[in-house]
Symmetry: C2
Subunit: 293 residues, 2 copies
Amino acid sequence: MSEEQDAGDYLIAPNPKAGRLTRMVTGIDHEGQSMDLSVVEERPLTIFLNGQEIVTAMTIGDYPEYLALGFLRNQGMLRDGETVKGVDYDEDLETVVVRTDGQTTYEEKLKKKTRTSGCAVGTVFGDMMEGLEDARLPDLGVNTSDLYSLAARINRTPSLYLEAGAIHGTVLCQGDRPLVYMEDVGRHNAVDKIAGWMLSEGVSPDDKLLYTTGRLTSEMVIKTALMGIPALASRSGFTAWGVEIAQQVGLTLIGRMRGRRFVCLSGAERLVWDADPAAIEEEDRKHRRKSAS
Amino acid sequence: MSEEQDAGDYLIAPNPKAGRLTRMVTGIDHEGQSMDLSVVEERPLTIFLNGQEIVTAMTIGDYPEYLALGFLRNQGMLRDGETVKGVDYDEDLETVVVRTDGQTTYEEKLKKKTRTSGCAVGTVFGDMMEGLEDARLPDLGVNTSDLYSLAARINRTPSLYLEAGAIHGTVLCQGDRPLVYMEDVGRHNAVDKIAGWMLSEGVSPDDKLLYTTGRLTSEMVIKTALMGIPALASRSGFTAWGVEIAQQVGLTLIGRMRGRRFVCLSGAERLVWDADPAAIEEEDRKHRRKSAS
């Protein structure tokens, strides 16, 4: 399968040739020679919920509306059944305003919080954990053959990572098919953009798997569980708290996926062992990811 | 030089054998076999400035006092000449309180800000840029031979990364000597711990270089410049805004350092070309870092 055909199969694929996302910079290499390097962009984007400034995220700048929606949703600031009246992106002001009907629960909470401590930063994490108690993740068989196909296809998909490096990717998958592949300088932004897309399109999480190039930290695990997705796989490693939360909520957590190897530290009962690891090719040098970090 | 001798040369080196920083987790590998994996810890730490709750950071949990001090300093919440009266860490409450004389400028700003928008998250980045205008980075010759020695020594130093992966490292260096090597699940925490150590010990930044395993983003560049360190080197890549800010403040920015290769995208005039790249060994497989991400 050629790379072009593969990218054509996605609902949303990276667009590494979009001029706005990378910049050519001239520098000097280790031999003192002048060289040109393609470097990813990084822009501030301030997210508002109605009249309330919530956060300034550093982002590559594509899909600002999905990023804002997904961020607010994953932080528990947009609850189930809340109607989004509009999402307005202003490129010059570098802002997105998400408008809902009336005051949200979050705005009430924020007021209470700011009276006691003056700042809401500390509440954000608490609110995320709160939503988790209600998380009920669906049953889903995860074929190991699909894990291998997904990893191979995602690695070979033309991306900003292959073009310029220094970027994270997250991919929403169904069976052996990668559906939506988002990239961003912040790994949480890539996940939030997928959450925003799912919310906008009314996509069910029940039969989905999330693949990320980033580490399986508590925040990544929490976001995946809040999105209702029952399985999370990564090229990278784990943190202990990430594993602990995954076990608590019954999320299937697969890490260190490289070539034929992977490790599953939570929810292994969902795995369907239909592939022979010995028959899987190791990654070739070109597609082996180095540290995006 | 053996690994043990190398680690002994540091003022602070990683302590991969400290039980509190990693945990053994049992899982299943790609062949369906049970396996034990060493996984890094990740804990919340809430930082207070006097009576004000500032942020909850996710951290591996070593050096909480340095992390709090360095974070507040790098966010412009502790200014030059401000006297720190005490730093109190409470392990059970997972809090650090930094005490200064009276109200800080930051607390005044925060009050003003919370009146208009209710939350201070958005101010943090603005405040960091503000401090930058006054940044005057010292002259320093950076020998390319030192860059190569540092990278080789740091890669071979026993670390949580080599033990458990999924972690970032940042190292304060002087000439060819790595002085303080901090690791953390968040790359900014590792830098902040170094800033806190420098502040506590009254260490001059003038003849130092900062080495990081993480990407050279705007935030990493800003923190380095605010710390007054004239050179920043990384195994990883760049973002365009990171490069732009480095060029504005005159920071020497070196990325993609692997084996004999590197790229300098800002401040190349500080480089002293005293090494022959052809004589530098490529990284062996064991010490080649994969994605910490």
